[in-house]
């Protein structure tokens, strides 16, 4: 029972090495700015930094990328409160009461509370991550190739949850990702597939090329040049930005409930931090003695979503690390980072690379603590940066992309591929094709193919083996329910509407 905590202690020591500490600080600061800047979310930020980060050692790379992710959760609240602009979708609920408080001259109270809520939410999320991750990973070791194949089929069915409003377009995106995953040498017999005569495609397409193009470049393409008005200046004095400790202590209930809701919603693949913040806000309002204050500058309206936001970021890590299932766009990109450094996320990672996993978890604790101080110090700068013009910011970001992608294989071929995926990502964004299923298909497709082919080789082509494993059977049943439920729910809603209309007539 205490194994996890001993391992965490070792991980904290390992994460305190200078190179890992430096990676955490750099990632946290970058994440803070990315979270504050409208137009670039944590997914785009992690994707853009991926080719640069993996040039360093594996532990530092993932520590930095993780720091970008949770740093962005801190940063999103700053501009949400000070400027009424959510830096990221998950900071949207914070705008409702946070910006109202800033307008009432209570920016300091709101900011201090958001920083405290982010820290407490993050800490509770991390403690729960430490408590649950190994248990889930140990249970998952009972998974053989048959169970893993069923799990991959379940993961791919999450397209029905992660795929947005149009399931048909989500499926197109998924199959496109599955196709991209087949490019390169066949995993069983080494036959080149879909290489179009290009030797550089024998190893497939590097994940970071697709991530940078789809999420990074596409976001920038879609940003209108008019965002960022340099004549606006920071209207707040530095003194006003310091936290109010008493106000923070008053919201202990919302901090606790927000953290728990955020973590357990965050575990669910597809739910995401944004859903967690909405549910936490609604719960806080429903259970408040003064619900009428929500929407008019209630401190509780900042505490609950901010705690949920940060806690959900760590809840999201459990399916990725323990099961090898990315539960959101950002963790999908993070998972790509793990694959790029030669590590396969999943239950075996806790067995074969235990030191690495717990060092990363240790880095999360250090980063979460460091961000409190970093955010307080950098808040005035962050508020100013929200108005940096795209004409000044984007050239620098695109140059980083060009050099980072070139650095993967010292080849301009990959830079050309990024341009292509950038255009594809832009079209997908405009035409409402969700990009996350493409990433799901690209990462999980090869694993699914290997699982199916190995299982069928072992069983000499007998498909019934998938139904002989109780675990696989349960997973496949859950998959069937997940796939059928949106259709059943809409059919039931339509039947209810028909009954209501008939009664009305």
């Amino acid at each position: 029972m205490f194994d996890s905590w001993y391992l965490l202690a070792d991980g904290l020591v390992a994460a305190s090495q200078p190179n890992v500490l430096a990676a955490i600080m750099v990632g946290a600061i970058i994440g803070l700015f990315i979270g504050a800047l409208p137009g670039l979310g944590p997914t785009a930020g992690v994707a853009i930094l991926l080719p640069v980060a993996v040039s360093f050692d594996g532990t530092s790379a993932i520590a930095a990328l993780g720091a970008v992710y949770y740093g962005a959760q801190y940063g999103g609240a700053v501009t949400a409160i000070l400027l009424g602009i959510p830096g990221d979708a998950s900071a949207t609920m914070t705008v409702i009461d946070g910006h109202k408080l800033a307008r009432q001259g209570k920016a300091g109270a709101a900011l201090g509370l958001s920083i405290a809520a982010s820290f407490i939410g993050g800490l509770i999320g991390l403690l729960l991550l430490t408590a649950f991750a190994t248990t889930i990973a140990r249970a998952a070791i009972a998974f053989g190739p048959i169970e893993m194949t069923a799990l991959m089929i379940f993961s791919l069915s999450l397209v029905s949850v992660l795929g947005g409003r149009d399931l048909n377009k989500a499926m197109i995106s998924l199959f496109l990702g599955l196709f991209i995953g087949t490019i390169g040498l066949d995993p069983m017999i080494g036959l080149p597939r879909f290489d179009f005569g290009e030797v550089r495609l024998f190893d497939g397409i590097e994940f970071s090329i697709i991530a940078v193009g789809l999420f990074g470049l596409a976001e920038m393409y879609a940003t209108p040049p008019s965002i960022g008005k340099p004549e606006e200046t920071n209207r707040f004095r530095f003194r006003e930005l310091f936290p109010d400790v008493r106000a923070t202590l008053k919201c202990w209930r919302e901090l606790g409930s927000g953290s728990l809701i955020g973590f357990f919603i965050g575990i669910l693949p597809g739910a995401g931090a944004t859903a967690a913040t909405m549910i936490a806000y609604a719960f806080a309002k429903r259970t408040s003695k003064h619900p009428e204050r929500f929407g008019h500058g209630a401190l509780e309206g900042v505490a609950a979503p901010e705690a949920a936001n940060n806690s959900a970021a760590y809840g999201n890590m459990i399916p990725m690390f323990a099961l090898g299932i990315p539960g959101s766009g950002t963790t999908a990109v993070l998972m790509g980072g793990l694959l790029m450094i030669g590590l396969q996320p999943g239950p075996m990672l806790f067995q074969t690379q235990s030191a690495f996993v717990w060092t990363i978890f240790g880095s999360f604790y250090i980063g979460n603590l460091a961000l409190v101080a970093i955010t307080i110090v950098l808040t005035p700068v962050l508020a100013t940066c929200a108005f940096v013009r795209p004409s000044f910011l984007f050239p620098a970001v695109m140059a980083i992309i060009a050099f980072g992608i070139f650095g993967i294989n010292n080849s301009m071929f990959e830079v050309m591929l990024v341009i292509g995926f950038g255009i594809l990502g832009y079209l997908m964004m405009k035409l409402d094709y969700p990009p996350v299923p493409l990433v799901l298909g690209m990462i999980l497709g090869p694993i699914l193919e290997r699982g199916i082919r190995r299982t069928l080789v072992a069983s000499d082509g007998d498909l019934s083996v998938f139904f002989q494993s109780p675990i696989a059977l349960v997973i496949l049943l859950i998959t069937a329910v997940l796939v059928a439920s949106p259709w059943l729910v809409s059919k039931r809603a339509k039947q209810k509407a028909d009954v209501v209309n008939t009664i009305a007539k």
Binding site: V52, S55, N168, K169, M171, I172, L174, F175, L176, L178, F179, T182, D186, M188, I189, L191, R193, F194, M220, Y221, A222, T223, P224, P225, S226, R389, P390, S391, F392, F394, P395, A396, M398, A399, I400, A402, F403, F406, G407, N410, M412, V415, M416, V418, I419, G422, I423, Y426, L427, K430, L431, G445, E449, I452, R453, L456, V457, D460, G461
Partner: protein, 148 residues
């Protein structure tokens, strides 16, 4: 303004054709090897799925003749210009080196995204030169990547 419907139809048509291509290639790689799947097994089904769903999207678009919105033509031009700037960077790097080419890339991107007056162009140029120096230090010196 360019209607989104036209783009969607075009993309769906391309993806349908891609799906058919994947199916044909899958068959050529071999569908089955005895009783077990061969190299073309997965591509066959992927191509089939892509063709099916892209085809369904075409039918949906043709049935629903309503507008899906439109994209501002200038936005398309912007995307095209930035992509051209990147391509220019790739070509020029072979002649003047990546560092010099990146300065031109950054200035071009800055102009596309709104730096049109002299002051803004000078600011973008300064950022470009500074950034190029940083990129040289990080990639060329620290990471020892052999830049062109």
């Amino acid at each position: 303004m360019i209607p989104l419907r036209a783009f969607d139809l075009g993309l769906s048509a391309i993806l349908t054709l891609l799906g058919l291509y994947i199916i044909s290639q899958g068959i050529s790689y071999g569908y089955q090897d005895g009783a077990v799947p061969a190299a073309g097994f997965f591509p066959f089904w992927i191509g089939g799925g892509l063709t099916l769903f892209a085809g369904l999207n075409i039918i949906k678009l043709l049935r629903n003749s309503g507008m899906l919105g439109a994209i501002d033509t200038m936005e398309i031009v912007r995307v095209g210009l930035v992509s051209l700037a990147f391509c220019g960077f790739v070509v020029l790097s072979n002649f003047i080196g990546m560092i010099a080419a990146s300065v031109l890339l950054m200035i071009a991107v800055g102009v596309v995204f709104g730096a049109r007056d002299i002051r803004s162009i000078l600011t973008v140029s300064a950022i470009a030169v500074g950034m190029a120096a940083v990129l040289y230090l990080v990639f060329g010196v620290v990471l020892t990547i052999p830049l062109l």
